[in-house]
Symmetry: C2
Subunit: 385 residues, 2 copies
């Protein structure tokens, strides 16, 4: 919205491609609506009044009790409602607090490339030093493709913190059990704090084998896992997330939350009542519908020459490479908006090694998304190098 | 809730004082309920779907348009909806972002003593250096009592930022027009960024003359004003605030918000639709009811020997000095909880010069608050030095 059209018209070739506008930069909560019962849970929170408006800074004790048990069940390792869990303003809030508590000025922080753009920006905000670790997401088959030589070198060089998303944002790659085990072993050996963003771990397709790091971490204490109901559950408008794991870090996060935003919106916390207890057929159907969109988009991009794309094993992101064009990827992204009513996120947001890619959040109306993907392929042909 | 009872029983004298439990640490939204229409506005936000869930990081353009005009009218100076305003997760979120954008490591920051505890903690978090400025709130008559010699010395010594609340939290002192004018002049002269927290400026009693710094600031560019509907309007459970003023600072705040929490909860933003447009008799009645509680509590504390208290001109905080006791004020606060079911905030939260005071948020059920205040006075007699 704040992007000027600039002189994009000057480099545009041909007419506009007609079709329904699609904003792939985030999911469409009108296409995939919030969890059944979530609004009622919110309304009950408002009706509860003061006790729900003014929770502890780490969130309502009552809701932490419910959610801790469900998260323990989902991730396969215990969670103490009293000590190990904090409710935050979205998973972004959780990530900010966790990074603030783990990263001091001058600390080396290992981050994956590509990965969620905020990881890099948060390290910079806290004056840490980024140590990149490459993810060969296109060439690794059933592995996510993490470069363990680089990870071990980063830890050996003194990295204090490792932050990564699983499934990986933007590629949808899921780390194999072997990879997760290796991360746990290395982090424990080097005493590295690990922050794992599992925001999309519930939207796992049947072919995925998802491994929770915390289930393998054993005695390792320096681990924070981040989740939330913003994505699969379409509850982003409530801005609720959770971080759980190391009670020492959670304690520091709560102290910091008191000066960052006091608490996650009290009434919004109430929607957690429905979380991880949705009707089984509802979540199964949601996964199946996303899988159908994923498969159709993959087939469209794989027919269009040059759009190499990994099959995402979880989540709703697709991250195709853009074929060799006569315009930069940045300009192609602007042309898509200008000529095809399609908004995508440029790969440069996710790392310097993926600037020739685009990210699509395909949690959209199926038909509109497929038509928009066809316009992407069609427009690319006009600008071939 | 996380405060251990410790050995408080060992120093307790006499029986428990019976009465309805009162938590003066924050307002009681069950006694003063949210603005009429706020829940409906929220519900309409949810019904609006994606466009309300995913607003710009600085908040919905539509709502900024509404609120900017109303804030301009309320504060007496123009506000550009497009450039000068950001919607945040509560006023705490606004304060955090404003401080983050204004304070760099090593910067001197002038803060008032006493003032809101987070001001001090935020300076510490950003590795700034606190330069305290004393507020003689008990001895200044119609002035708030700011020590301008100290303020000017702080600015002359290179303070980059001045942050203060008006009305003052915890005392309810309102800065006079003369004081506000002097702050504006000094800040402009020394090029100091000013962050003024006006959270309670709407709950001004008829005897108060409230002056908005921004209305006097003229060409001075380095000013951010913070407000929100959490207090007078009892909308704290939605966690919504606003910061407005310098477009350069607001722009930086938005960039930072993108990594701190993305945005204020999209659906919650909708309650701003009702803000500053409540029925006139509703707000008048709310002020009158608070004034009645204020006056009764003042009379209770002034009858109890030694509870010197300033008459708050705005807001719902009362900040009595505790008389000389045989126990520390910290222990007296614990005894109040233990023996009288009364929770107050110790003065030490607000500055080193007011450790012998306690803060009461008197936005409570009138009768329960008055009874609790009587228990405070009664209990103090047991522990007289």
């Amino acid at each position: 919205m704040r992007q000027a059209a600039g002189d994009i018209a000057a480099i545009a070739i041909g007419e506009r491609l007609p079709g329904i506008a699609v904003d792939f930069s985030h999911g469409d909560v009108d296409a995939f609506t919030p969890t059944p019962g979530s609004f009622r849970a919110f309304s009950e929170g408002v009706a509860a009044g003061g006790r729900q408006a003014y929770t502890e800074y780490r969130g309502s004790a009552d809701l932490r009790g419910l959610v801790a048990d469900r998260l323990a069940e989902f991730t396969g390792a215990p969670v103490s409602a009293d000590k190990d869990l904090i409710i935050t303003p979205g998973t972004q809030g959780a990530l900010f607090l966790a990074m603030a508590c783990a990263v001091s000025a001058g600390d080396k922080v290992a981050i994956v490339q590509p990965d969620y753009f905020a990881n890099r920006k948060l390290v910079q905000f806290f004056d840490g030093e980024i140590v990149p670790v490459h993810l060969d997401y296109l060439g690794a088959g059933r592995q996510a493709g993490l470069n363990f030589e680089q990870l071990e070198a980063a830890f050996a060089a003194g990295a204090k913190v490792f932050v990564f998303s699983n499934p990986n944002n933007p590629t949808g790659a899921v780390y194999s059990e072997e990879e997760i085990r290796a991360i746990a072993t290395l982090a424990a050996h080097h005493g590295v704090t690990v922050i794992v963003d599992q925001l999309y771990s519930r939207l796992a397709y049947p072919d995925a084998q998802y491994t929770h790091l915390r289930a393998l971490a054993g005695e390792f204490e320096g681990l924070i896992t981040i989740m939330g109901p913003s994505k699969t559950e379409s509850l982003s408008g409530y801005r609720i997330g959770v971080a759980f794991g190391s009670s020492a870090i959670v304690g520091r996060m709560e102290k910091l939350q008191a000066i960052v935003s006091l608490r996650a919106a009290g009434y919004s916390q109430s929607v957690l009542r429905t979380w991880l207890r949705e009707p089984k057929d509802w979540i199964d159907e949601r996964i199946a519908l996303h899988q159908a969109i994923r498969d159709e988009l993959l087939s469209i991009f794989r027919q269009g020459s040059g759009f190499a794309t990994r099959t995402p094993q979880a989540g709703s992101y697709l991250f195709p490479c853009v074929p060799k064009l006569a315009v930069s990827t940045a300009d192609f992204v602007r042309l898509l908006r200008h000529q095809a009513d399609v908004i995508v996120t440029p790969g440069s947001e996710f790392g310097p090694n993926v600037v020739e890619s685009i990210r699509l959040n395909f949690s959209q109306n199926h038909r509109a998304a497929a038509d928009a993907a066809r316009r992407i392929v069609e427009l690319s042909k006009r600008y071939q190098a």
